[in-house]
Symmetry: C2
Subunit: 238 residues, 2 copies
């Protein structure tokens, strides 16, 4: 007997983590509805990547939401503020960096919840992780748990007790090396992904921002080369 | 000694409730940053009203965020679905109506949180109420409480233990009549507000949707006339 795949909304930035999450959700049998955000980010290249990842891995749908987080600013990703470079892992762990975008994951998950409700999907996937990460408050397990609680109060299905919305964050306990290993097993083509906070207009990664350094470390841990292009100049330093 | 007013973000739809909330927040001494959403709503007239309310009551700032909730549909406010008319209060209380917009208040509060963080504001005001209301899940006290919990995990200030974000919903325990009484005491000009889910293009209220019926009841309870214009035809029925 043929069963219909359960729908899930998968947040897809175009980065290494969310591409891996899409592959994981698919491997678990979900019909994946990928959701990306054009929010005024400096690293718009990742949106190109999101489209290519969907084309490569496949998805039941892909929605690009346009919102303007530049209006609020105060992040190196959405305002004219220099992206920090060449920080050590120890420096990264010490404070919330200027690349943090205020309430970004809350906004992304809120939109995902709206789409999930319309799709009758009870499952939302997000690629946050709390080990090799930039120290953002909205990447921590307690944040994800709080959003799941909220989601079940916010929606029609929750009120009627029909369903339970679950926020899946399968990368939470994984190191960057472990994430890449899992993705490679699942056939993720990492040449299609972009992690850099400050890429060139044609997508060369800077190799020096927190995100590039964590990515480089992850590939090194696996003893495999990173298939993306690194250039000498990001948009900031350029 | 002159003290600087504490900043607060106030969600302002242009309706009766949120106009009253703006007046309440101002009366409590906050420097109010009003936030409205052009989300593809059928009743766009309320956005005109939001601007007029800000001009009348005054605010430290007014931000209009543009987001597209039509992309998800499934609500009579954002899709081509007829707005229910002439329902009794008993009928309204029985089920979540088709005017419910999936995850709308979650999205609105998420944006308010982003702006609050940038403004260094610890206070967010929202005009939900749970007595004379349309039965939306995201208007209930438990939803507001869950969002407040989330907000304090989602943001930089929360992580660093510097502040505590508070979601104020001063109308929660009030009937529509009580809300209007409070607003009149505070000098709210209700002729500038719009409540109708299905107004004409020039702002005449239909007088028959749930929101019009609750509003009419509230003015009747106060024995004062409702100063807005009611017409015979809404956009749906016209």
């Amino acid at each position: 007997m043929k069963t219909t795949a359960k729908p899930a909304v998968v947040l897809l930035s175009g980065g290494l983590d969310s591409a891996t999450v899409l592959a994981i959700a698919k491997s678990e049998g979900y019909a994946c509805y990928a959701m990306s955000f054009d929010y005024g980010q400096r690293h718009r290249w990742e949106l190109e990547c999101a489209g290519r990842i969907v084309a490569s891995l496949g998805a039941a749908g892909h929605h690009m939401a346009r919102i303007d987080l530049r209006a609020f600013g105060r992040s190196a990703l959405t305002a004219d503020i220099e992206v920090p470079k060449s920080r050590t892992l120890d420096e990264m762990s010490r404070e919330i960096p200027i690349t943090y975008v205020p309430a970004r994951n809350t906004i992304f998950l809120a939109f995902a919840l709206a789409w999930a409700e319309v799709l009758n999907a009870n499952d939302i996937f997000i690629g946050v992780n709390a080990i090799d990460y930039s120290g953002y408050p909205d990447c921590r397990p307690e944040f994800i748990k709080a959003f799941e609680h909220l989601a079940n109060l916010a929606t029609q299905a929750g009120v009627e007790g029909r369903t339970h919305v679950q926020i899946h964050a399968p990368l939470l306990p994984m190191s960057k090396g472990q994430i890449i290993r899992r993705g490679l097993q699942l056939g993720v083509d990492y040449s299609l992904t972009s992690s850099c906070y400050d890429p060139s207009l044609t997508g060369e990664a800077c190799g020096e921002c927190d995100s590039c350094l964590l990515r480089t470390k992850g590939f090194a841990e696996n003893g495999v080369p990173d298939p993306i292009r690194y250039g000498c100049s990001g948009m900031t330093s350029g």
